[in-house]
């Protein structure tokens, strides 16, 4: 349990970074700003602590004290900076109160709490997570936690069957918690995956609340907390929920004109999973097209995560055959096989039309029919649709050329890719909806 407590300095670090270097503090004390601060701050803090721990492991493999001291010093420095900064004019929370706000605000934590109680059973049954958790992510965390040169085994070519070239954000962060507390308690990876779920729901509810309106933000959070495929991925301890969190936070922060931290989240996505590198490219391209003026700050924010991910691929784990590299060998015959397209299409349709999604589609249809779309928000929706759509198309294309047996690859990974993109697809709808408040009819009572 102590291992899980070591998350707290990282969360403090991230929240202080967002508070000191973003415009979110001006939006406080709105509850939406606090939710987004927790969501984006937690994801940023975990990512920053992971990068720091990994770099220290690389440079001084035997030292636990160095990353710990640097992290605590950063928390202290940011704390002082935050306290000393002149207070911004606090925004008044003058939003029109929609009558269902209280009910929605009670339903959201209730849904998260219910999901947590259900997950507790899976944590107890499978404390080490599902297959990829113990064979890839937590295995590498165990190497990285070692206070010796054994840390370098996390990317040893001997692990070739479990992808030593995969980026190490979650593994390095779990290793950090284990190294700091001196034990390999499974509570650490359990807590990390759970905090990413909280960060995802929190950033979603807060971000959509700020972008559109409070009831839409709360409904967005409820829909995330009611997505069975997403919730199932949390106790599995895979890197897909963290990735979904970075995708959503990056896009929301970009829509809220916070390009620096949008870039930070996109860069950290690249340090989380290979799909994150693709997202970073798509996100930067979309920013260049739709938000050109913000592009330099997006690139600045993305630089640390992107440089680390790229250095890891090209310099540190160099020589390990990557999935894309292995796929390149048999590209032409696979691209020309019509049966593969049919097979992938059928699998996508089956996953996206799974019964667990039907209630959520119905919810989206109902809310879209009752609120309708706001033509003026088209630009935001187009950004969300273009990023989510290109990612979906890229995943589809990769299955066509996968080096693995196609049926096996689809069966074991497609649901997880849907988990990564589902929040973006929800955002594409919510970004364009009219707000309930825009339907308000204000009448003065006559005496």
């Amino acid at each position: 349990m102590i291992a899980a407590l070591w998350l707290l300095p990282a969360l403090a670090l991230g929240c202080l970074m967002v508070l000191c270097f973003s415009g979110l503090r001006e939006r406080l004390p709105k509850p939406e700003a606090a939710l987004l601060l927790f969501g984006a701050g937690s994801a940023t803090g975990i990512g920053a602590a992971s990068c720091l721990f990994f770099v220290c492991r690389l440079l001084l493999p035997g030292s636990v004290l160095l990353p710990l001291l640097l992290e605590l010093a950063a928390v202290a420095a940011l704390g002082v900076l935050y306290v000393r900064r002149p207070r911004a004019t606090r925004a008044s929370d003058s939003t029109l109160a929609f009558p269902l706000n209280l009910a929605l605000a009670l339903a959201l934590p209730a849904a998260v709490l219910a999901a947590t109680c259900i997950m507790a059973g899976t944590w107890e049954a499978n404390p080490h997570g599902d297959w990829d958790a113990w064979s890839i992510w937590n295995l590498r965390a165990r190497y990285l936690a070692a206070n010796s040169d054994a840390a370098r085994r996390a990317w040893s070519p001997d692990l070739v069957s479990t992808h030593p070239e995969y980026p190490l954000l979650t593994s390095a962060f779990v290793a950090r918690c284990w190294a700091y507390c001196g034990s390999d308690d499974p509570a650490a990876p359990i807590a990390v995956s759970y905090v990413f779920l909280l960060a995802l729901v929190s950033a979603g509810a807060g971000g959509v609340g700020l972008l559109r309106s409070r009831p839409l933000g709360l409904l967005f959070g409820l829909l995330l907390a009611g997505t069975p495929v997403l919730l199932h991925a949390v106790p599995a301890q895979y890197a897909d929920v963290p990735l979904a969190c970075y995708f959503l936070a990056a896009l929301l922060l970009a829509l809220l004109e916070e390009p620096l931290f949008a870039g930070v989240c996109a860069g950290l996505a690249a340090w989380t999973k290979d799909e994150g590198s693709l997202f970073l490219l798509v996100f930067v391209a979309a920013s260049a097209v739709w938000r050109l003026r913000a592009l330099p700050r997006v690139l600045l924010g993305a630089a640390p995560g992107a440089v680390l991910a790229l250095s890891f691929k090209l310099l540190i784990a160099a020589g390990t055959p990557s999935l894309a590299g292995r796929a390149a060998g048999t590209l032409a015959p696979k691209l020309l096989a019509a049966s593969r397209y049919v097979q992938v299409l059928k699998a996508f349709a089956a996953s996206l039309l799974d019964t667990s999604f039907l209630l959520l589609y119905l919810a989206l249809a109902v809310v879209a029919a009752s609120l309708r779309f706001d033509q003026e928000r088209r630009r935001d929706a187009v950004l969300a649709v273009s990023v989510g759509g290109v990612m979906l198309a890229a995943y589809f294309s990769f299955y066509i050329v996968t080096p693995y047996d196609l049926a096996w690859h689809l069966a074991t990974s497609l649901n997880r890719l849907i988990v990564q993109l589902w929040p973006l697809l929800l955002l594409a709808v919510f970004a364009a909806l009219r707000t309930p408040e825009s339907y308000a009819v204000v009448t003065r009572k006559r005496k």
């Binding site: 010796s148 907390a225 003065r444």
Partner: protein, 152 residues
């Protein structure tokens, strides 16, 4: 003292919304909560059907003797009676690698320390000789520790 009558305060404005806005949001929220209920159903079934299906938690006590005997810096070999490529092989090898980390367990017998991870009893001493190893210790439950011949 004469009381002056204050001017009447204007009545607070009343805000109303079309019924479909209420109904749409309430129904969408209810459907989202339905998703939570659906998760309860599917996850409960999952917990009953897949309770540590690869027996990962059991490998910690099973391999404890090896963890104690072999230093963390060691690179170990691996010997088994399961068929490479099968799910049993992958699960047993993967879980041994996970439990024994930071020791590195490689898929060959060319190492000073070799882990024996077996599903059935056999003549392990003879098996060791055939692979140029000697049996260092039998921990029971199919777990053995071999040493390369000529190493101390």
């Amino acid at each position: 003292m004469a009381r002056t009558k204050l001017p009447a305060r204007p009545a607070p404005p009343r805000t109303s919304y079309p019924a479909r806005v209420y109904a749409g949001l309430a129904l969408a929220a209810a459907l989202a909560l339905g998703g939570s209920a659906s998760f309860f159903e599917s996850e409960s079934l999952y917990q009953r059907q897949y309770r540590d299906p690869y027996l990962i938690a059991q490998q910690f006590p099973r391999l404890e003797g090896v963890r104690t005997a072999v230093p963390e810096s060691a690179v170990m070999g691996y010997l088994t009676d399961t068929s490479p490529g099968s799910t049993v092989f992958e699960a047993m090898y993967g879980s041994a690698r996970y439990v024994l980390a930071p020791r590195l367990v490689r898929l060959d017998t060319n190492a000073a320390w070799v882990l024996g991870n077996f599903t059935r009893p056999a003549d392990f001493a003879a098996l060791a000789r055939r692979n140029g190893l000697r049996l260092e210790r039998d921990f029971g439950n199919g777990v053995l520790l071999f040493r390369k011949e000529g190493t101390r």
